[in-house]
Amino acid sequence: MSSPLRPAIRRYAEHPFWQAVGILLLAYIVVVGVVPILPGSAIVPKSVVLQYMITVLVGVLIYVSDNEERWRQFKEPIQAVLVEPRLKVVRAVVVAGVTALVGLVAYGQVKTTVAAPPNLRSIHPAPPAEITFRGKTITLTGLENPLRRYPDSLPSYLAEGKRVYYQNCLPCHGDHLDGQGHFAPGFNPLPANFQDNGTIAQLTESFVFWRVAKGGPGLPREGTPWNSAMPVWEDFLTEREIWSVILFLYEQTGWTPRTWEKSVSGEK
């Protein structure tokens, strides 16, 4: 069954027209299907997909027209569909299909639908130089986690941080600290994923302290404070509890905080 097919397949695979079709299909699958599942990327917007596809198409056309013989071969199937009497049905389908497609695209362009406004949000907005924590001024610039100065007590601070995490942070940030707690699906933006290399791994502990202490309402405007479900933890936790839970976040995920001297990102 497969052996008589093989030469046919090879004929298609070596034909410039079908190669071009294959490359376009492959590019579409990569842009729409593969890119979104890569870590740290999102669904590609339709307009960007269109740009990618046009770029690929131009590249393909340059390639096939680069060589006289290839160009002739490339045009063959197109010419055949337009001319050959035996391809009458294919010809009708192509003309009707293109017409319908143009109609659909045009309708999609003029039809008005109400969509949710784009949510442009700065994920790590610039922190203030200092904050007031329960009436006490704390300078964030240059600040390290003060608990790290007592290495002998770290196990007890970590135990405290773990307790604080499980009693407070777990419903949203989750058992695996990946922002997928059982309440996470109810919120937008989704809770921060501490396992990701783009959150605490990129931040100083003083930044994390600011985000925990002041929560969503303490964000500057570019951080969309009206959407964030992060509580103002200074209403619930003491300064030491917050530093403890920050220790726990880094310990549990294996990241190291960004430091002030070198400003290098953490390594896992």
Partner: protein
Amino acid sequence: MTKRAFACVVVLITAASTPLTAHLSPLTLQDTTRGKAVYVKWCAGCHGDGGAGDGPSAAHMLPRPRNFTGAIYKIRSTASGQLPTDADLMRAIDEGLPGSAMPAWKGRLSDGERRDVAAYIKTFSSFFADTSQHVAALKFSSAPGGGTDPSALKEGRRFYEDSIHCNKCHGDEGRGDGPSAPTLKDDAGFPIYAADLHQNWRFRGGGTVEDIYRRLRTGLDGTPMPSFSDLIEQKFLTDEQLWRLAQYVRSLSPPGAPEVRDVIHAPQIAGTVPVSPDDSVWARVSRYWFPLVGQVIRKARWFAPAVSGVWVQAVYDSKTVALRVSWDDRTQSPDTAWLKFEQRILETVAADDSAPPLQAEPWPDQLAVQFPRHIPDGMERPYFLMGSETDPVYQWRWTSRPRKSVAGLARSIERFDTLPGALAGEASFDHGEWRLVFTRALATPDTANEVQLEPGRAIPMAFFAWDGSSGEHGSRMAVSTWYFLALDRPTPPGVFISPVLAMVVTLGLGLVVVRRAQRRGAARAGV
């Protein structure tokens, strides 16, 4: 022996031995020392260092984390009262337990880590060490066909209400509102809700017909849900009839778990909008699901929300908008039959201000729909959790007793001031479901405080729900984030002109191209 024959034998041996080793309790070969390390790091926060289900987060949870020391497991493939198989334990770890705080650990921990931790969990109870106990999965038949036929569902329904009396706990329509529901406790004495059979995506053991059938065969050990295997043995009902029951239960939920979409599209209708929640118009309007979660942001936080989500529909006419919100709620609160249950909930779920636990009170059910005071031009909107002093939100609030609807401004969770404007609300309660319709004029005189509902705009909207019989009142509630309401403008006929024009031009060009190519081809052939 030829090479090929030798290869065949090797393949046969490998094929035969793989299922064999899988069958022989493979977890005994796992490393419980490594398992302990995984357990202490990832599981103990909920399940406790000693496996007693008493980790630091346990007091916030309902249902509570599993207590491994008793070796009683709800989700099994074994007979009632039996230990679970290793595969049962692995399934719970791998897939998690939907509707609870237990996540799926597949993809979060490696295969080896998950197997090691399962082996370690078994060390918390001596029952697993007792080798005289032969743990074997029940042999399950496969589902008979035609499970969605009306006759099959009717037969399933017959067993649901007449023979097995599922309705005693799960209610006549399956929303967990049966007469015995408020008395239910698990073996540890914690309150337990009879499952809402309309939300199969929250079933702990999975929501397929097969999963439901297994729960019917095995029961949920440690809970009031019994096994019905003995009824088959006693010839009280046949295996096929139990399948019909499972198929009926499955039919109560939507075909797939509801997908959350950002925008509720409200069509414009001719005539006037329906004011009654049971108007036939609603059957023809798309409904949108919005998940609600516990209010864990402001004091006093609430970790055990009773309402897991709301279904929302909207329509409008030339003057008025009608918004229908329906949600599952086991009681028409206040309901004195549920006071003891409410008390047990308040004693079980820790809260910021609940030492000593609050006294159960006959709280009503409540629902709130929230808008900004003005449709925003940019992305900025008021704080989603009931606004702030400087930027209040406009809300519609309904209570079950006294039965009334009011509009007002919320300036925080604590502060709500009613506005004089008219807001109509009509609600009906039907077997564990509230259906509520708010109607309001699109435009109102108080443009400073009341959102003006303009067609063609994305109007931010959020939802809040309270189940009084679960002790919910004040800040103890279920909340949502901002979503959007869109009053869709009807498509004007002019919109079709340009696509039709484009199609005519394309078709014409296409025909010209074909004609020219053919003429050229013919000319070439002639030469």
